[in-house]
């Protein structure tokens, strides 16, 4: 008798756990839709960041396939939302957001590097100007030396008298 009471109690406990855990973690349509919308916005923001890095001269070619992967996750999240699989929609939206956020972070790092590289560009400009000035200066002194020698040589030439 006691054995069967224990079995009954344990069975009821399992049923309660299954029921309440499912209720506690159930995802509503609105929650899933919000997550999908947020993932869409995160993806767009990440692309804006990538474009910003690109405009500053960064090579973003490695980031684009990752964005495409995030876009694919978003498509499947939308599909899961459409067919009523809300928890799957939330999971896939989360994957999209995670990928897009990671790309956005990398885009910022690439932009910083690109901006630093454009600082090197100013060094290159200064170097070009300095090299030109030095070259012209040296050429000027060579010219003066050459002209002095030329005039000296011309003045030293004796007129030749021919009959």
């Amino acid at each position: 008798m006691r054995f069967w009471v224990n079995v009954l109690v344990i069975s009821l406990l399992i049923v309660c756990i299954v029921f309440f855990v499912h209720t506690a973690f159930a995802v509503t349509y609105q929650e899933a839709a919000d997550q999908v919308a947020e993932a869409d916005q995160t993806l767009r923001n990440a692309f804006n960041g990538v474009l910003d890095a690109e405009k500053n001269g960064a090579n973003v070619s490695a980031l684009l396939p990752r964005l495409t992967e995030a876009g694919s996750a978003l498509t499947w999240a939308e599909e899961a939302l459409r067919i009523g699989n809300y928890s799957d929609a939330v999971n896939r939206a989360g994957t999209c957001k995670s990928l897009a956020s990671s790309v956005a972070g990398d885009a910022v790092a690439l932009k910083i590097d690109a901006v630093a590289a454009s600082g090197n560009w100013w060094i290159m400009v200064l170097f070009s100007v300095a090299a030109s000035v030095v070259f012209l200066g040296v050429l000027f002194f060579v010219w003066r030396w050459f002209r002095r020698g030329y005039l000296k040589k011309m003045l030293g030439i004796r007129p030749e008298v021919t009959s």
Binding site: R44, L51, T68, S128, A131, F135, L139
Partner: protein, 200 residues
């Protein structure tokens, strides 16, 4: 022997050439890239990766495939959306001239991010489900696109001129506009006529 003025000209020419040589690396980076016409391309190829052999006579449950491709020649990275849609011959197609997209819902959406000069290509697998025939009327209940099954519920009448029940799978290209921060129809689409036949 050359005159002093001739030597002066030679020195000036050498000076000029020297300055140009010193500035070449800087000018190369300063000069904007040569710009051409900017555009995006959208194409569909048959199963043999050629512009032939497209699925035409299709039946319920059969699996069909074409390759979809997008090319970016916009001068910078672009975010594209490629929407797959389905219509019967009475529903309107997008209007490439006015830039108006079809009002039909997308049954499948690819999201593609491409750098300038980049090309994306993917197989588009589809099959027609819940196909029915009743005299001179046919219907397609559902469409499976790459594993995503959608209710389409389309009806087509028998076409006496071309002898068939015609439907169309078409694909629209949409592009993210950085200024408005929204996706807009890029006035490009490709379409595929399907003659739905009874499977035996």
């Amino acid at each position: 022997m050359l005159s002093l003025n001739s030597y002066k000209t030679i020195f000036m020419a050498v000076g000029l050439i020297g300055v140009v040589v010193c500035c070449v690396p800087t000018v190369m980076r300063l000069a904007p890239p040569v710009g051409g016409e900017t555009f995006s391309e959208l194409y569909a190829l048959g199963p043999g990766h050629m512009a032939e052999g497209y699925p035409f006579n299709v039946s319920a449950g059969g699996s069909y495939m074409v390759y979809l491709g997008v090319g970016n020649h916009m001068g910078s990275s672009v975010y594209y959306e490629v929407d797959v849609k389905f219509r019967n011959s009475t529903e309107s197609l997008p209007n490439a001239t006015s830039g108006e997209s079809s009002s039909l819902p997308a049954l499948y959406r690819y999201r593609v991010f491409l750098g300038d000069g980049g090309v994306w290509e993917a197989p588009l697998n589809f099959s027609l489900l819940n196909v029915g025939f009743d005299g001179n009327v046919s219907s397609v209940g559902r469409l499976d696109v790459d594993g995503v099954v959608s209710d389409v519920n389309k009806i087509a009448m028998w076409d006496n001129e071309t002898k068939g029940f015609y439907y169309q799978v078409f694909v629209e290209l949409w592009r993210y506009n950085v200024t408005t921060r929204s996706i807009a129809f890029d006035s490009r689409f490709v379409s595929l006529w399907l003659n739905v036949t009874q499977s035996f």
